[in-house]
């Protein structure tokens, strides 16, 4: 009896505060299921792993080529002289800089942003799939996250190339250094947070 009275008082206070402050935590229940059941969870993770593997294989094989094409078109539109090559199987761009020198840009998987995409996928696999929410919704968010990452890689590399077109080949490494790792992780966290808020909405009903 004592327990029930105290608990209700505590909740009443909590609701009072929650009502007064924006975005306050909602009353939580320690017995609520935060994850799917073990079996469901395993199935989701396994299915998620399959989706991830398939998506990643496609990206691995095709994205450097896509990036080569897309960057080639973007830079040509900016009236930068670009040649596409396939040196030792790695798609590359050779850019003629404003000072007449050439910048060779092999689009390796590391440079293409596939590392951050992998990080996003792994985070997604173990910390997202087991949460409540439709499997296909999660798959859709995963693919959307991939697109965001790859879109960002396109913008980042095009920007770095354009800057080095004007400032010289040395500028490419500087811009790549400054924009690469930090902003790459920024999109991973941002996309992950968005998915999380969607799944929390689902959990709250």
């Amino acid at each position: 009896m004592l327990i029930s009275i105290q608990t209700s008082k505590s909740n009443a206070f909590f609701k009072l505060c929650a009502g007064k402050m924006l975005g306050a935590p909602r009353a939580r229940s320690s017995s609520a299921r935060e994850l799917l059941s073990k079996n469901e969870s395993r199935v989701y993770v396994l299915a998620g792993l399959t989706v991830l593997a398939v998506s990643y294989s496609i990206l691995w094989l095709s994205f450097p080529f896509f990036l080569m094409e897309a960057m080639g078109r973007l830079l040509s539109a900016a009236q930068v002289s670009v040649t596409k090559t396939l040196g030792s199987g790695v798609p590359s761009l050779v850019v003629r800089l404003i000072d007449g020198r050439y910048l060779n840009l092999p689009l390796t998987w590391q440079r293409c942003g596939l590392v951050s995409v992998t990080v996003f996928g792994l985070l997604f696999l173990f910390l997202m799939y087991p949460l409540h929410g439709s499997f296909w919704l999660k798959v859709a968010w995963l693919e959307l996250g991939f697109l965001m990452g790859l879109g960002w890689s396109l913008i980042r590399l095009s920007l770095a190339t354009l800057i080095s077109y004007y400032l010289g080949a040395g500028a490419f490494a500087v811009v790549e250094f400054l924009t690469g790792p930090l902003t790459d992780i920024f999109w991973v966290v941002a996309a992950w947070s968005l998915v999380l808020s969607t799944l929390t909405s689902r959990k709250n009903g």
Binding site: Q6, E34, V119, P181, T200
Partner: protein, 424 residues
């Protein structure tokens, strides 16, 4: 030769940060997947109600202390087993007068006044004075800006049925969260740190910490330990490790919630974190060997404890790894390095973003059923960058004070505005 040294340093830094990353990942998964099996109120169905002394150290806290004292009168714990001691630490405002008024009105309140000759030397010193006047079997402490649940004492003390439990820590939640970006970020840190980190450590039998407030400790234990070490800027971390080394354990009570006024601007954030960082580093040097050699601890507890002790060094390592990474990137660029380099921020952000990784914070947010707050998780990067400088300066100051022999450290008090009262 230089390149080998650089690679070695870089590899070491990545290994350290990977350890923290894995630790936070395990905590996140544990918090998600383990059902909360924490007892509410009483283990084994017993109604265990020891006598309790509530200690409230306060220095120039007139804006907030009245609200807390009033709240204390509303606690549901039996008043004949409760004693409230407000330690007025040489305040120059009305804190002492407010304490006296409550002591006159309620017979279970005591006001202890510290003069300017002994006051103002930090929280540990004030708590030691409070300890001399305390008679309860269990001591509970609150900072003056806190606002506890009415049944918090029951929730905290119930764990003391277990004789191995030396202390119990409750959950701290930020009440003035919507005020500024800084208070929102601090709220996120608290969510990650308590709802996930502390809870997982409790569930996994690792090293939950005393937070220095919203914490209950056995009086005989703290007397055995000789009270609080007043040379320590983070007396709570020091107490945590002393308790473990003495063979006791600390439990975390997630249901025992208390609401705090978080810092609201970057200047206050800097001052508070600088004190925490410096104090934590003091604890590292004081406890590292003793904790590693302790016979009262299992291996996993030692590993977790040592990682906790080192946590304020991680932002410094982050800064260092970025520096070394930049050198390698520009001086000896190789393709394989780019992939490691690009992973580095993941480690840094995850391990040191706010001393709880972004996915740990996100997990806490999910468990709390919060939605919009997760949108600002990426902004935690700001506090990561700031913490690199804060912790580096704290280490520098600590080394400087050791070199110059100045062992007395200034206690940078956090100023509270009392803005919380609009929520209470």
């Amino acid at each position: 030769m230089l390149v080998l040294i650089l690679y070695f340093i870089f590899g070491f830094l990545v290994a350290v940060m990977s350890m923290y990353l894995m630790r936070h990942y395990v905590f996140s998964f544990t918090a998600l997947s383990k059902r909360s099996d924490q007892p509410l109120y009483s283990l084994h169905g017993l109604s265990f109600k020891p006598t309790v002394s509530v200690l409230i150290p306060a220095r120039n806290e007139e804006a907030v202390v009245g609200t807390l004292l009033h709240r204390i009168t509303e606690l549901t714990y039996p008043k004949d087993k409760l004693e409230v001691i407000l330690i007025n630490d040489a305040s120059t405002d009305n804190t002492g007068r407010i304490a006296d008024e409550f002591a006159k009105t309620y017979d279970y309140f005591k006001a202890v006044h510290r003069g300017t000759d002994i006051g103002g030397r930090g929280k540990a010193s004030a708590l030691n004075d409070g300890l001399k006047h305390a008679t309860g079997d269990v001591l509970t402490f609150f900072d003056a800006d806190y606002y506890p649940q009415v049944d918090i004492v029951e929730k905290l003390t119930s764990y003391f049925v277990d004789p191995e439990v030396g202390a119990v820590q409750g959950r701290i939640t930020v009440l003035n969260e919507p005020t500024t970006l800084v208070s929102r970020l601090v709220a996120l840190e608290r969510i990650g740190g308590y709802r996930v980190d502390q809870l997982a450590r409790d569930s996994l039998g690792l090293i939950p910490q005393c937070g220095g407030t919203v914490c209950a400790v056995r009086r005989d234990l703290i007397e055995y330990l000789g009270g609080w070490d007043h040379e320590m800027l983070t007396e709570d971390t020091d107490l945590t490790f002393q308790i473990y080394e003495a063979g006791y354990k600390i439990r975390y009570a997630n249901e025992a919630e208390c609401y705090e006024e978080a810092v609201e601007n970057w200047r206050s954030y800097w001052r508070q974190r600088h004190r925490w960082a410096k104090g934590h580093m003091q604890c590292f040097f004081k406890h590292f060997l003793a904790f590693a050699r302790s016979k009262n601890l299992r291996l996993r507890e030692k590993v977790d404890g040592l990682l906790v002790l080192g946590i304020y060094f991680v932002p410094i390592l982050v800064g260092l790894s970025w520096l070394v990474g930049a050198l390698i990137f520009f001086l000896y660029p190789v393709n394989w390095f780019y992939s490691v380099w690009i992973l580095l921020p993941v480690f840094t952000y995850s391990s040191a973003g706010n001393f709880a990784s972004f996915f740990e914070v996100g997990t806490g947010v999910y468990l709390d059923g919060r939605i919009r707050v997760s949108w600002i998780i990426p902004v935690l990067l700001l506090s990561l960058i700031l913490n690199v400088f804060i912790c580096s300066k704290a280490l520098f100051d600590l080394m400087l004070s050791n070199v110059t022999g100045k062992k007395v450290h200034n206690w940078a008090k956090t100023v509270h505005s009392g803005g919380n009262s609009k929520y209470c």
